[in-house]
Symmetry: C2
Subunit: 298 residues, 2 copies
Amino acid sequence: MDALASLKPELERIGADVDRLFGSILAVPADPRAKLYEAMRYAAIGGGKRLRPLLVVAGCGLFHVDRERALRVGLAVECIHVYSLIHDDLPCMDDDDLRRGKATVHRAYDECTAILAGDSLHALAFEILADEATHEDPFVRNELVMELARASGLAGMAGGQMMDLVAEEMTLDLASVTRLQQLKTGALIGFCLEAAGIMGRVPPEGRTSLRGYARDVGLAFQIADDLLDAEGEEEKTGKRVGKDGAAGKETFVSLLGADRARQQAALLVDQAVEHLQTYGAEADLLRAIARFAVERDH
Amino acid sequence: MDALASLKPELERIGADVDRLFGSILAVPADPRAKLYEAMRYAAIGGGKRLRPLLVVAGCGLFHVDRERALRVGLAVECIHVYSLIHDDLPCMDDDDLRRGKATVHRAYDECTAILAGDSLHALAFEILADEATHEDPFVRNELVMELARASGLAGMAGGQMMDLVAEEMTLDLASVTRLQQLKTGALIGFCLEAAGIMGRVPPEGRTSLRGYARDVGLAFQIADDLLDAEGEEEKTGKRVGKDGAAGKETFVSLLGADRARQQAALLVDQAVEHLQTYGAEADLLRAIARFAVERDH
């Protein structure tokens, strides 16, 4: 069975779980904040691959972490991911009209609401992690908060997004594009596996293979994204394609060519799977996700 | 001695401390993220009254909390405050050109950088709180994270900002303006005193007087802000004045008139000070801050 087929029920299950949790956390109040909640629900519910929550849940599965708790951590990462999409789509950033197959938040609502919806999801991520429903030990919750703050801030996602904006005005080499993507998308994917180790009470020195897996999957995922942007269809990806070429941005595809990029992604997936060799069948889901990262068409 | 004169050395000291801490945390890296760090430094260093950090430090003073630790908590609140100013000043929000006596971040840099600088300060706040340099007990750090996330998100600042945007299209009564301001500015001021209680290991049931003080000071501060917007000078406030009237926004001044608003603010300050009656001279700084909230000219 190929990776996509074996993953299908897992993807459907995590999608339903994430939607359910967002639905209950974002119950719309009967006051003037209703529009803000609605915009957050619009952005957060019913879309996306839920790759990050799935990585958290699959990673937590290695250590028999309670699924509902793992889902809360996955929800927190998804809050950060969705907030970053909302802000990145804004007119002054990538100026995108389409995301996850529907109008972007600033198009469906307005720019103010989009900025506030992003900001509110950002705060919500930390509120979810700091809640004792996520873990009874405050040390664990605190470590999760620290790692997510690092992965989403200057040393992670936001720093990478800044590099990406600056990159539009210069020519990057492969090392620079790799570094940029390790911050912009890699740090948050890295958090997913780090969080699994934290929830599983694995000490930092025992998380090396998880980190290796995350690094390789994150990079493979980004190369696949670049390939989809260069060759994919808007109908399937649910977002505008051909953006990077139009913006004159260097990507793994522009630097390596499509064939070598594809080979590199495949190599990274093999490497990612190798990092899991000390684990048995309990890591099969992570192995399937690694293959899915490059075999998907959206 | 009036409140302003007695506070002057404290305001200068906290200003220097906050600048020093931001300066060391935001050391500019030699990579393409430099512009982002510079924009954050531009927004965060060398401006503002530092009312929130001062409230944290003054509150922590009641419980003999180490000043450097209290300052870290104050810095985290200031990160949230500065991020909210950057985002609120954006063209799609209040479209302001002037803040703290200089060009707003999107004017001095650009909109993208302003959004990312705000987002990065947002994440930084939680990174600062989650660090063990803030407190050795993860339970304390976790409680700080939870309270700050709540105060800055849907149930606090961001929710209040949404109410404020929606309010432009409707006529609010005094109760609605009060509720709006309790979220938009009150929640974060409330956090400052809540955090003092947390750092001082005061159990939640012992924080009633601190909460009462914060609620009254927060409201008095907002009324004074409305009075400054209606009657103040741009040169002293360092920001555009007369905004609310121009936007047709209901404020405490438009609803009560300047005289009654001034009386109400004075009453709130008296009430705030009364909440501190169980404390002795160690609460003098908090008493002076309460008076400063309404006696300031900027």
